[in-house]
Amino acid sequence: MSGQVTSISGATVCVDLADLKIGDRVLVGSSRLTGEVVRLDGRIATVQVFEENRGLGIGETVTSAKGPLTVHLGPGLLGGIFDGLQRPLSLLQQGSGDFIASGQNPFPLDCTRSWAFSSERQSGDQVRVGETFGKVKEGHIDHLLMSPHAGVLEQLHTGKLQLEHPAAVLAGGQPLHGWHSWPVRKARPYRQKLQPTAPLITGQRCLDFLFPLLKGGVAIVPGGFGTGKTVLEQTIAKFADVDVVVYVGCGERGNEMAGLLDEFGELEDPRSKRPLMERTIVVANTSNMPVAARESSIFTAVTMAEYYRDMGLDVLFLADSLSRWAEALREISAALEEMPGEDGYPTYLGSRLSGFIERAGVVETLSAGQGSLSMILAVSPPGADFAEPVTQACLRVAGALYMLDTQLAHRRHFPAINWTQSFSLYSDTALAHFSEQHGEWAKLQARCRDLLQREDALREVAEVVGMEGLQDGDRLLMRTAEKIRLDFLCQNSFTEDAYTSPESTIEHIAALIEEHDRLAAALDGGALLDDLLKEAADAPR
């Protein structure tokens, strides 16, 4: 079946082709550009083209790929670097050199690579949809192969498996491959959603201590430019205690992606001691790559993340930044001449966003395991104004807010997380967990918040009367709060300080507060602060 291009307006192309469905993938023009059907009107379908389409002419041929936009799921995704359509960037480079040319469709998985296949199932066994029929070893993880079909196993492969050959055959001749494809816009199924309970350790003292996240939870990180969103996301990608990290560079800087790829290639996963890249999947759709592919990139990435979740793993999904995705949505919506909502964003921004964010969570998988998908999503509000639609829409569904503060960033306080306005709805659950290890956790957290809050109030007083005019007790408090801010909350991502274990975090803050209490008691006993500080400075370390 083929039709032809009837009109072109930027990346929005109308084609005359019968029997298309909404969401179908089509190949447009002589260079076979990938597009997706977004609107139907009689025989005329409106197609959003995912690639640069300059030079496309009217009358050129269009063919249907007979199915929706999908990703290919199988062993070999870990360590991969893909664009927003899951095309491996290294294969694109082989195809068109250092600059990306349109119209390439390489298969994302390596079909010739051999995998050590094993199975606990036997022929004659019944398999349900989504149930495991075998596994291969992918780096440090057991990569479960899940059946997309139900039936009775007839044949099972043994030994080395290559993806081009079937791993098993069902009665009736249906082959089961080591890979299958899945529509990106459809959430992968599970038996049921469970309540998140386990904390996700990021290694960031400020987050783990004050605003903990749970495995299966969602945090958003809004911040103006220069507040360190990307550095924070990348640092968490390095140290988070999860099995798999999916990192999406959505409409961001190419040089940053290059930096991430260089660094992740060299670094070691602190837990498995294997190259960090082996647990990471990168989806890179930089700001100068086509807008429609930027819109699809987060769906491509989240589908891959769900696939690893379905193996019973803990997966962390990091997106930088969701605002770029929303802007892509806005550009596409404007090209379709839809009625705009707030700030020009389409009115379905909120529902589309919550549909996406709800793909996070802890689930009981179809093969009866338990997996989690957590999300940390950067948001780039225009003019650092948090009242804008994307931040607000995210806030309605996210469980934690890590607000990055321009003022803190200007003072080089990194991570620039504002401790008064950030929050975590997971705090109580996480505290229950942490308190098992360290009974004082909740108490220390409350003390720390209290000190920081009182410092804010005192600073206003100090601005009027000067530090000289403050009481010793207040000056001590200012000193402790400053230490908490500079030594504890500030954390340098470029040194060994980048990761702190929960044990060291709690020890650190406990020591600071213990010193404060000791000095405060001495002041109560009539000592002078200046003498106490001098003593402390002279004391042998």
Binding site: N255, S287, N288, D343
Partner: protein, 441 residues
């Protein structure tokens, strides 16, 4: 490939820089067209949109004198391309690549589409090599590296022109490899043009200039940076030069974008700028970079004038989200007589971390920069306190920090028209820190 050139005389409407053509048999998106005006002039244009036989064309050059009856449009079957070759060096062109220096057009060796393809992220290498600008505030505290894009945020009335001019004269590679400057002026006044012309005439290094004057066609403001970047990519990645592209002023570019977008009746976004401005700016800025296995680099230094001195205005805001840092000029420093009036607190070079230290600048660079920054930030905070309680009401240490901030502005930030090498910059930093050893730790 079409075999015969086809021509039309079916213009149905002309709206601003846009031309509507009916009953077109074949057209491509982005196709270059030639337009013959009734009085015999020839203009070029580009296909923006095609629907059911109607084609929307953006005209480069003014639409003055066009009509619907006699105007002829011929289709070229190719997209807009830039002529390239060695002959481009040392030349001055207008926004449509016509020579402005009274010399004949050079003979192009080949042509490339002006809309560059994106660099594959896996082909990029991380920028790490230092470029010396001769300004202490940039080299010392907001170091520029090859392949970076670092805008200068200025306000009306601040000496951005002088700074740009000095950058043109002073920028150099510490190792002295092949280096070229590409200068793009958008919406430049004649007054400013005279100023830059003198500089261009005496340029020592190799350069190419694209000049769009304030009374030149607005559409060419969108074209000129793309021509320039295509030239820069060729110089960098084929001829293996390190290329520094200086664009002034991106605010005029964005205003041109808004003008065209309004004529196309697109939905206006913040302050009337189109919703796709982020992607559009990214398609320029992201052309900066370095590539694995190739010697050259494209580094971008755009100037942005912040309307109403507002850094949250869409133009500086979107720019800041794409670029790797920013250099911010301050009216307050200007009034204190400090030149260049760079406010280092909101300024930032994101790629500085890798571009400084041993093997790049000097071993002590990072430490000096951190200490200067910390002490100056503290000092500036204390100025507010000083305004309330007076100097006498402050701790001795705080008074010293105040003095430090003043000296920092006078000795380090202020350098007049003098060029400073990185060693001189770091020596001044060291001397300053030594003098205030107790407070600038």
């Amino acid at each position: 490939m079409r075999l015969a050139e086809h021509q039309y005389r079916s213009v149905s409407a002309i709206r601003g820089p846009l031309l509507f053509l009916e009953r077109v048999f074949a057209a491509r998106l982005g196709e270059l067209v030639r337009i013959e005006t009734p009085d015999g002039r020839s203009l070029t244009g580009e296909v923006l949109k095609i629907s059911a036989g109607q084609v929307l064309i953006q005209v480069f050059g003014g639409t003055q004198g066009l009509d619907t009856r006699h105007t002829t449009v011929s289709f070229s079957d190719t997209v807009m391309q830039a002529p390239l070759g060695d002959g481009v060096l040392g030349r001055v062109f207008d926004g449509s690549f016509r020579p402005l220096d009274d010399l004949p057009m050079f003979i192009p060796e080949f042509r490339m589409p002006v809309i560059g393809a994106p660099i594959n992220p896996v082909a990029r290498t991380h920028p790490v090599e230092f470029i010396e600008t001769g300004f202490s505030t940039i080299d010392g505290l907001n170091t520029l590296v090859k392949g970076q894009k670092l805008p200068i945020f200025t306000c009306a009335g601040l000496p951005a022109r002088e700074i740009t001019d000095q950058l043109l004269r002073q920028a150099r590679l510490p190792d002295g490899g092949p280096f070229a400057l590409v200068f793009v002026a958008l919406g430049l006044t004649h007054f400013e043009y005279q100023f830059y012309r003198q500089t261009l005439e005496h340029m020592q290094s190799r350069f190419v200039a694209f000049i769009n004057l304030a009374d030149d066609p607005v559409v060419e403001r969108l074209l000129a940076p793309r021509l320039a970047l295509t030239v820069a990519e060729d110089l960098a990645f084929r001829q293996e030069m390190d290329v520094l592209v200086i664009i002034t002023d991106m605010t005029n570019y964005c205003d041109a974008l808004r003008e065209i977008s309004t004529a196309r009746e697109e939905l206006p976004g913040r302050r009337g700028y189109p919703g796709h401005m982020y992607s559009d700016l990214a398609s320029l800025y992201e052309r900066a970079g370095r590539i694995h296995g190739r010697k050259g680099s494209v580094t971008l230094l755009p100037t942005v004038t912040m309307p109403e001195d507002d850094i949250t205005h869409p133009i500086p805001d979107l720019t800041g989200y794409i670029t790797e840092g920013q250099i911010v000029l301050s009216r307050e420093l200007q009034q204190k007589g400090i030149y260049p009036p760079v406010d280092v607190l909101p300024s930032l070079s994101r790629l500085m971390q890798h571009g400084i230290g041993k093997g790049q600048t000097r071993k002590d660079h990072r430490d000096l920069a951190n200490r200067l920054y910390r002490a100056y930030a503290k000092g500036c905070d204390l100025r507010r306190l000083e305004a309330v309680v007076g100097r006498d009401g402050m701790l001795a240490e705080d008074r010293q920090l105040l003095d430090f901030s003043t000296r920092f502005e006078a000795d380090f930030v202020h350098q007049g028209k003098q060029r400073r090498s990185i060693d001189e910059t770091l020596d001044i930093a060291q001397a300053l820190l030594d003098k205030f050893r107790e407070v600038a730790r």
